[in-house]
Symmetry: C2
Subunit: 472 residues, 2 copies
Amino acid sequence: MSLSQRNPEDRPIAVLLAPDILALLLESPQDIPGETEEVHPADLADVAELLPEEHVAAFLQALAPERAADLLEYLDEDLRVRLIEAMSPESAAVLISRMTPDDRADTLDEIDEEHAEEIVSELSEEARTETEHLLSFPADSAGGLMTTEHVSVPADTTVEAALESVRVAARSGRREATYAVYATDERGRLVGVLSLRELLAAVPGTTVRDVAWTEVITVGPMADREEVVRVTSNYDLVAVPVVSESGHLMGVVTVDDVIDVIQEEQTEDVQKLGGMEALDEPYMQIGLFSMIRKRAGWLSILLVSEMLTTVAMQQFEGEIKKVAALALFIPLVMSSGGNSGSQATSLVTRAMALREVSVADWWRVALRELPAGLALGSILGAIGMTRIYIWQSFGMWNYGEHWRLIAMTVGIALVGIVTFGSLAGSMLPFLLKRVGFDPASASAPLVATLVDVTGLSIYFIVALIVLKGTLL
Amino acid sequence: MSLSQRNPEDRPIAVLLAPDILALLLESPQDIPGETEEVHPADLADVAELLPEEHVAAFLQALAPERAADLLEYLDEDLRVRLIEAMSPESAAVLISRMTPDDRADTLDEIDEEHAEEIVSELSEEARTETEHLLSFPADSAGGLMTTEHVSVPADTTVEAALESVRVAARSGRREATYAVYATDERGRLVGVLSLRELLAAVPGTTVRDVAWTEVITVGPMADREEVVRVTSNYDLVAVPVVSESGHLMGVVTVDDVIDVIQEEQTEDVQKLGGMEALDEPYMQIGLFSMIRKRAGWLSILLVSEMLTTVAMQQFEGEIKKVAALALFIPLVMSSGGNSGSQATSLVTRAMALREVSVADWWRVALRELPAGLALGSILGAIGMTRIYIWQSFGMWNYGEHWRLIAMTVGIALVGIVTFGSLAGSMLPFLLKRVGFDPASASAPLVATLVDVTGLSIYFIVALIVLKGTLL
């Protein structure tokens, strides 16, 4: 199974491997460890996902337990849960005990509670305590993300001895969080950090205290996962130490988990921006009923809010009856308000997520959106009026004797509505944050709905003023 | 300036430091290096952003050139450009030559071309060649992201000698990309990779070839930055080697740059989803005119497309004149189509970005959206009909003698429109991708606009059928 240079543009490696592995599985499973020795566990997991499901357990069994545990860490969550729940607690414990502590806790968190307890009771005393400790933190906190594996040494250790500690840890199979060495004081509190590179560069004979950075960037165990992301990204870290209130190092969050968090958070933000609850599961895997439930809530709220447009329209039913041409442009002017609001909202929620703007900046944003809205509204108003002039002049439609006044109504209304849309769309995330909601809930549909009602009123009020004495 | 335990919940460290540093700058600038020795360069950069701008150049000069170069890497782009363009080419070259090669190239790429050339001519021969080489790759390719700093050794080097190479590199001040050691064959081609941890764990006397992973995960220099993100995230890497077609290691992309790319891509996706061109610059920094230009394009396109609603309405002007009550529900039914479309689009574009669905999956998605749309439409239809029943029954409004038929029209139309919206919203990203556009351009406003025209037609056609013989 020789694999030439890996080329991600070509077919995924797993697609190439899966048929060979299936053949081996049926004929000589004992050859599988040797043949897959150099394959990345992420690719092995992809192979497992491609195999017929009845063969996956046999594939795991054919691998060495360490490799099978690695594979499980990269496997699709649903498949992993099904596989582990189908195993005896003893076999499951063999694999799960070989996972990194954070993935072990995450996996046990996913499966049926009764199953999980049986598996935990099969773990060694040390692994059990560690796992129960990790499971005690909320999944979206720094404590829930961290692994307990790390290397720490007393600050007065020499750099040679510290390097030897890293070596021992690496040989013992601890796989994560050996990017840095943490220095502790006599009471075990974190007082310094040193990257492996800096440790290697240090002059022999010096102590860790001499060369370590004393201003360690840390987070508390209950810090929100967004805070972990911010710290990692701001300080370019590959591991963030998690420190208790008393200053003791409890574990580290590694950058690969931070990347997963960034991608999950982004998925949630996009789904909220689209006007629904976050799905929590991949689109193709979530049950149809769960998905409908997560979408129906916001759709219903939006529908009920949008009913205000009917109320607004009812106030102007007389005007619509008199000048039916006014009704023709309702969708046009309304949607422009929603569109400009959607732009402003997505700009502001994203800038808030990146901490480019804070709640205190609301007036600065308003001072940008006001002129932007006026300019955009004027552009759209000009286009809208031109459209009516062209249709009327070329005889494509007859808007009646006073068509110039109708064109003026549409033009002026667009300026007002787009300005209002930009302002409302940009201010909504601030308002939501101010009253304690997630500003990302300011979805494009929500803004559009809010702007629709006001937009209609603006349109009809402009019409009343412009058409007074002629059509109305 | 002793700083107690760093707590990100408290005021940012830079806010605490800035006044002290300003005082030092005015009284004894020679003390600044000592007082800021332990401060992370990201925090120093924040301090520089807080200082009055006329003092920033003096602050940089007070620091050792290495620290000033580190600070510059973390500084706000606009400020960095202004600072460097105000320096003499010689002083700028002193700082820029101390940056990591990738940041050096990025910085030179930002500033005025003439200035950049003057600075490059002041660099050492080696740094000049390296910088010009990096600048030759597109900024959004793996080549444009990579740094040339890395440690590679011939595959038959012993692990002790390899460790010594890392040590030499670390001492020489190469700061990036020392997470792994790369093994090359006699022709200099990349044949293996070994993390620093694995190198430390290796049995003394073995060669790098014996312990290295031979299936190295790599990208080509012209690989898109999204491909770099995918590989990093999929294989949990901290550094991705960039390899030429001939198999030579050209550089590595480090995980901190990958995180920056992920966040930039997300900003672009959110802005596109909001219905505009991506801004390329932070919201509070982009010029008002540039922002208006990036927003006006899509707004105008959407307005012109939305004009089709006017055309659609014109076909039904006679019906509106006869039954003005029909006009009252236009915003309601139209917006529900747009909202369900917006949900479907954001779900599908995000699933595509994460590679959970590919273009070939379009019919699987359609088979989910069809029942989801029917269910959601039925829920909304029931709510809509109830609304009319309540208003009419409690005498809050009179929709006329045939109000039951109008309620039925609204209910049936909502089922049709929401189903159509869900289908259209989910299929649009596939269609865009199929014809070569970015599926992320399928914005909520674009979907809403497309669905509006069809939604109106569905509404009036349902009205014609239901009201035929009574009101119409």
